[in-house]
Chain length 335, copies 2
């Protein structure tokens, strides 16, 4: 086993997209597990938009990543040395590994959890990790999906959006429309994922095309992007419609304030609701969601796609993919 | 009884504030009640911001007022001629009278209701009409007020806002802060209405002063105005805070789109909710609210103020007062 631990640390707070000034690849000594701990060799990293928000020096639901600290990130690794009864050699565990080759699993804080047998790590990071959980609880709990609802989801070809739309269909939505960038992603959403329709936000007249697809208005809009797409959806909210605020990709790299959604006024006349959530609040209910998702997976009812980027050193570019729309499905870095 | 009915009709759709081109005073023949109807001599009009929205040619929760039609408005009048068992001579009835001297009460549609004995019309228009009902259900139902909450309300010296703050105190809020325009209104809100604090939105650094008053954040923000005040409150939302969208005075007279609240992103990290409502949806529950409000009134626990403008012909200026902030309390036109 190598004595070194390559890790990517925050060198400077980014303005806009992450670039070579933002991060630095360091080589540190491999950490030693203490009693009650295990050494985990990281093999896959979960690349999520929220990582970009942690790089800013502004208070969020977690503290900012410190300058010089390893980039905070979910990941999966294999237990390669153990001083804990909880972790056996060869176990695959999921947790906040960070962007590095080796991490420590500590039985005391239970922050690293074994993943179910038979699941490959990219699928686990996608459906059983943040994206799958976010899709499930955001749609069903925050969005309070009802049978026969018309559901619209942005970032529909992304990891969260693609699962939101499929769960909506599985739970009885009458119509599911995805918003995605470009004709290929739109075709993917309809042909592969089984959405009823898709709208390309890069083409003109988004509002008119969305209205064509949802003439009776939108009951649940699951928002992964914010910005003008959120504003357009607000204008077409059905009576008592719900907007699930999951993310605001349009704002994460912005160097100037992104205009707010002026059509929020529509929430008044449509008696609508716009609600945000942080998926970590639902942690105690993850097992319930994971059981249902696992069953759908075994029955072949849930499609998923992972976009694999090879090499720890490419993690920053992998993160940028989320903002340029260069991915279809869950972005995972394979070490 | 005069044979004429003076009425104010919509002459042209306004751009910005209502002016002399917007409305026209007409003299029509007094209407004749048919069997099942009564003739009502209007004595007070309820002047509400929503009237301004009905003048626009855009779909709302009610259709726009037609060009040449009487201005739609709540009001109270006395039954002066009756062909209905439901309405007795001398009864005071509340309903959508419109800006005119005479209106028809029709027993079939029950749109005109007797007001409780012993209530003078301005008080009834304020506390038992749209403002009182909006304050009650907006705060308790949409805002889901909890004991110990910190509550902030804008338009705090206005009819709805002043009642919101007082009901919040009566229902156990630990702190109630009003936002109002100018030192006099701020003093009124604290000294007369018993709010715990007030912030003048016309003075600089609204955000910092609001934070001083609510260092632990805002649990319920009752928004009567929209615009930058809403955006400032969003930035200071407490965990699981609720924003009640009641109105958007800042936008009603705007001739260009009002910027949306960019801080809506805070709803995500604070797990917040922003919800709109239309008080007419609660009509079946008005009696419940009116009983509780009547009890508070009898016990001297609910202060109220009416700003009386004399003369039907001054109704347009009375409406504009709501947007210039020239009123303290409920604006009522006395005929």
């Amino acid at each position: 086993m190598p004595e070194a631990n390559r890790r990517i640390v925050l060198a400077a707070r980014p303005t806009g997209m992450v670039d070579e000034a933002t991060v630095r690849l360091e080589t540190d000594p491999r950490p030693e597990p203490a009693p009650g701990e295990a050494l985990v060799r990281v093999n896959h990293l979960s690349i999520d938009p929220t990582i970009r928000t942690w790089m800013n020096d502004s208070p969020g639901y977690l503290p900012p990543i410190g300058i010089g600290d390893v980039i905070r990130s979910g990941g999966i690794g294999e237990v390669v040395e153990t001083k804990s009864d909880r972790y056996r050699l060869g176990d695959l565990v999921f947790g906040m590994t960070g962007w590095q080759e080796y991490a420590i699993a500590d039985e005391a804080d239970r922050s690293m959890q074994p993943i179910p047998e038979g699941l490959d790590p990219p699928t686990a990071l996608n459906l059983f990790g943040i994206n799958g959980m976010t899709a499930y609880f955001g749609l069903l709990d925050v969005g309070a999906l009802q049978e026969k609802d018309t559901v619209v989801v942005s970032g529909a070809a992304g990891a969260t959006g693609s699962t939101v739309g499929q769960i909506a269909k599985l739970k009885g939505a009458s119509k599911v429309v995805g918003i995605a960038g470009g004709p290929e992603k739109c075709a993917y959403v309809v042909d592969e994922l089984g959405f009823d329709g898709a709208v390309d936000y890069r083409a003109p007249s988004l509002g008119a095309r969305l209205h064509e697809q949802c003439p009776a208005g939108i009951d649940v809009y699951f928002d992964n992007v914010g910005g003008t797409i959120l504003n357009t959806a607000l204008a077409q909210l059905a009576m008592r419609g719900r907007i699930v605020l999951c993310g605001a990709i349009a704002a994460y790299n912005a160097t100037e304030p992104v205009p707010g959604p002026g059509n929020y006024v529509n929430l008044i006349r449509r008696r609508g609701r716009m609600e945000g959530f942080i998926i970590l609040d639902y942690a105690s209910r993850f097992p319930q969601a994971q059981r249902e998702i696992f069953a759908w997976l075994l029955e072949g009812k849930l499609k998923h796609a992972e976009h694999i980027v090879e090499g720890l050193e490419h993690a920053p570019e992998a993160l940028n993919l989320l903002f340029t729309g260069g991915n279809t499905g869950k972005v995972v870095v394979k070490l």
